[in-house]
Symmetry: C2
Subunit: 282 residues, 2 copies
């Protein structure tokens, strides 16, 4: 498997991360996951913008953005994934610092690690829908930054898997925030309702696309705080992410949504989303 | 520099962490820092107990605890630190998982990394005291676990350094929690007051020692919620940690404490703490 590490394309076996890398010791890094629909990275610029934003918020001084896209295409080619539905993973950490201490020097050399991987569509989940659980959102208060300090996401997702559900929808102070790996939106009387951008949710790329698609399709969109107690009153619940695209929730916290049948807005958005990446790829 | 990595004592240069180590990609690990006062690790059992507790809370299935102490002494010896004030760093992450995904398999092989390092006493800070800033505590709600997902601690500490203060004291919902690397306690009329153990603070080893010392010395100890607004009414403010031992705060949020003179309880506790590790070491 060919990967990119600090300026070079290498076999994965030859990547040697230092134990003093601040991602390893502090979770001090950011990342992005980008979909490759043959033969194009989808919404590349949006992901790059968010990567830049995450780096800026953490004061990680990486600047070689101009090279990333061509490296990712080279990784696709070298790994023979040209015609495969895939993902790219980009991680940039603050770099190696020795001796270990919490605060960091200005102008550190960031550690850059990127790989691509065959990653099939989540077709069955998109078609039939998934179950979701509910949990209190106990993360820190800068969930707008896509960092590698992901332990709360890991632990909630683990409980999801153990409990036989696909995703956990979080709530904080009585209001819905997002899922462990997805943004969440709700449909009621042909209106799409989703929590507003804030420090409590990730500005999802798919979330942005879906909001734009709704405007094009004449579906009213409302970004507002959503009370946990409203959860039972929606016609549809949708999970959004780069790899999930648009996945319907058919059971939330044990309560059945629309007789377990993915709704019409879900189907419409799934189709339009697909048209979009088909138009932008080959 | 000789370090320990996954069963072997190696030169640091030969340690090669996988980019798929979950500490690197998810901050999915725990750690401890233990003081070596020649020629003994101080409160080793307390640190080991906390390490076990952290691992259990994250469901990391590490069991080879019995070997750690002898490995640390071997590292001290091989690095010629026998007579040097030093620290040991122990990090255990969940291990390497490929392909990347949030949830984890049962029974993964943890990644173990340990090193020792000469680490002088913070004598000047202990003697003259330090300035502390105040910030809202925006961390997640499981601060009782000593994890490597340390980004909020890193960012607050960085602001401390930029602002010329040594530590940030955090407050959440109007109540004092702790510092970015220390527990905090307060003295008022010969009473030591400190926030109670909860999911919002780390159960500090030094905190525990100081509470026991107070009982021995006849100083009343009270573990209770402390309002931010109480901050100006204390006689002394103390920072506690393994490397800080007992450090007096002489200025908090720009307000001068006791004319910048470390107080009598601080001096008493510093002396008793020193007696304790002197008695337990050589």
């Amino acid at each position: 498997m060919w990967v990119f590490y600090n300026g070079k394309i290498l076999d994965l076996e030859n990547v040697t991360i230092s134990p003093f890398d601040r991602a390893f010791q502090f979770g001090d890094g950011v990342y992005e996951v980008i979909r490759y629909y043959p033969e194009k990275f989808f919404e590349y610029d949006s992901h790059l913008d968010r990567l830049k934003s995450s780096l800026k918020k953490l004061e990680i001084s990486f600047t070689a953005f101009v090279n990333i896209e061509s490296i990712l295409y080279e990784l696709i080619r070298k790994n023979n994934l040209d015609d495969q539905l895939s993902i790219a993973y980009i991680q940039i950490s603050r770099g190696v610092q020795f001796p270990r201490r919490h605060y960091f020097d200005d102008g550190m050399e960031p550690t850059v690690f990127m790989y691509v991987e065959k990653f099939p569509a989540r077709q069955e989940e998109m078609k039939s829908g998934v179950k979701a659980g509910l949990e209190e959102d106990i993360r820190w208060m800068r969930c707008d930054i896509k960092t590698t300090s992901l332990l709360p996401n890991v632990l909630s997702k683990q409980r999801a898997v153990k409990n036989g559900v696909t995703e956990i929808i979080w709530h904080r102070n009585g209001f819905i925030t997002e899922g462990t790996q997805t943004n969440v939106c709700f449909i009621k009387n042909n209106e799409l309702i989703t929590p507003p951008l804030s420090n409590f949710i990730l500005p999802g790329i798919t979330r942005g696309i879906v909001l734009r698609l709704c405007k094009k399709l004449g579906i009213t969109t409302t970004e507002r705080d959503i009370k946990l107690s409203e959860l039972n009153g929606f016609d549809e619940i949708l999970l959004l992410s780069t790899t999930a695209e648009v996945i319907p929730v058919i059971e939330a916290d044990g309560k059945i949504i629309n007789n377990r049948i993915p709704g019409p807005v879900c189907r419409l958005l799934q189709g339009e989303y697909q048209k979009l990446y088909n138009a932008e790829s080959r």
